[in-house]
Amino acid sequence: MNSNSVKAELPSRTTLWSAVTRLLRRYGLQIGIVFVGIFVWLLFLIGSPRTFLSFPIYSSFMSTTPFFALMALPLTLVIIAAEIDLSFPSIMAFGMTAFALVLTRTGNVALAFVACLLAGLFAGWLNGIIVVRVGIPSLVATLGTQFFWRGVVLVVTAGNGIGLTSTIGTVFHEGVAGRIGGLVPAQMIWTVAAAVVLWFVLNRHRFGAHVYLVGDNVESARLMGVNVERTKITVFALMGLFAAFAGFVVSEEVLYFWPTLGEGYLLNTLASVFLGGTSVFGGTGTIFGTFVASFIIGAINAGIVAAGLTGFWTNVIYGLIVVVSVSLQAVLSRKLAHS
């Protein structure tokens, strides 16, 4: 060992270190959520090793988590744009109402599926119009449309559900609720695909760039020529489209459409977005974070049961884990961002 070799090593070590800190700073949010995920997983692994070391529990995660992950992903865009949507649970049911109407009248599943997506797209677009053109804050506007669409669903269906067994064997049932290779739920594939597409749109397309800018500083975005109105309306329309699709996936999984479809999805979906590190104030957030956080939220739901905690304790533990996870995520990503 001589002093020369030490000297030669030093610069490379510092550039490596600065590259590492730069990565930590850039991906602080994402790294934070991965740590939270590992933390929660270890918690359940210790609590119930037998369950969490076998495949069925993961198959169950992959089957139920997509129901709200499919909506948490586009909701991430809504919240990055500094807006909120509370109406998507009702839009799930509204889309399926359109599906049921067309299916009972024509018997054509493909046509019914298209009607479902169009209904969702329309409901989302309408949210955007109310927020942007009429100027109602999205919290209030979508609270209103949430009641409205649920009301429409109940009026049209008269509160009655409809069986969907006639769709069994069609590509629409197998395609969204089948089991790929008999193991992986098809909805999981759709969730991954949605995550990839939305990641691309958010990070590699002009529209996504505008979503970030609108949420970060709406006035400067407007001054720099970003079409704020169109960006926001598109974000709400996308949310409606995905909500209708998620409603379809849930209904195909259980082969029945209940007019109450969507109830119970609001908080899981919102929790996934916020746990994923998306800021309530807009301007920051990642698709990756929401994706991982959705599975953490899904795992908490299933994990509590699997760990043998039942009854009244479920909500206590659920709330506790959510609060601890969000805090842990916030602290970790802040530490990383300023390291």
């Binding site: 002009r206 970030y212 800018l213 500083n217 975005a221 720099m224 020529g225 301007g283």
Partner: protein, 267 residues
């Protein structure tokens, strides 16, 4: 003189409030115009009209390079090379530098897919050349939130220059800047002049505007209270007159308007 921008008879009413009344305002093709006025005098409204952000009330005319332009808008203002540099509102704090430089003008292919690599490279190049950032702590991926006031101003100014502005509007560029940063900023204003372009320099600090401006326009209560060519009035004289405007709404003791400006109407 050749004019880049002429505004004729511009008024702007917000509900009951008349923010601007019959304002005539022009900027020469290679002129630095200092725009002075108290808070609420109508400076920002005038600038927002120039930027196409607000529409003037009917009856106003906007003339660019001698031609009257109808349906003035943000897009049109930009197509004529008018760029504004707002101190606080220009940048998106939570976004990296490269996204700020290309805000609203992202480099994309025809499907709207971003060329992130190219935007990062251009940002890196601009940082080293125009902005003069040499610190290793700042990269194209640095968040604007972590930058100093002077650095932020540099980013906004660089952005305007990069997109080949013909006229740059600086909205209180020296506010909150340290002495050395103010000096740097004023040097930039001189660079605009040297580059053969024009500039509107808005401030309420006469000591920052006077050294770099060719002409100073004073706005008070929504009207042009007067204008001065720097070679016609000394800093001391101008300061004294501005105090008078603040106290009486008039430019000098016998109620005359300033040089080259028509009388102020009802006041």
């Amino acid at each position: 003189m050749d004019y880049f921008l002429q505004m004729r008879n511009i008024s702007k009413t917000f509900g009951e409030v008349k923010a601007l009344r019959n304002v005539n305002f022009e900027v020469g093709t290679n002129e630095i115009v200092g725009l002075l006025g108290d808070n609420g005098a109508g400076k920002s409204t005038l600038i927002k009209i120039i930027m196409g952000y607000h529409r003037p009330d009917p009856g106003g005319e906007i003339i660019l390079k001698g031609k009257k332009v109808e349906d003035w808008s943000v897009e049109k203002a930009r197509s004529y090379g008018i760029e504004a540099v707002y101190q606080e509102r220009a940048l998106a704090d939570l976004q990296p530098l490269w996204r700020n430089i290309f805000m609203g003008r992202e480099i994309t292919n025809r499907f709207g897919v971003l060329d992130v690599k190219k935007m990062r490279e251009e940002t890196d190049r601009l940082m080293r050349t125009t902005m003069g950032f040499t610190s290793a702590a700042i990269s194209a991926d640095s968040l604007v939130r972590n930058m100093s006031g002077g650095e932020r101003q540099g980013v906004a100014i660089t952005r305007a220059l990069y997109f080949q502005a013909e006229m740059i509007i600086l909205d209180e560029p020296t506010m909150g800047l340290s002495l050395s940063e103010t000096k740097k900023c004023l040097e930039f204003v001189e660079d605009i002049k040297k580059a053969g372009k024009c500039c509107i320099f808005i401030d309420h600090n006469i000591y920052h505007v006077y050294p770099v401006a060719d002409r100073i326009v004073v706005i008070d209560r929504g009207m042009v209270a007067g204008q001065f060519y720097k070679n016609q009035v000394s800093l001391e004289e101008l300061t004294a007159r501005l105090y008078l405007v603040a106290q009486t709404g008039r430019l000098n003791s016998n109620g005359e308007a300033g040089a080259g400006e028509e009388p102020r109407g009802e006041l």
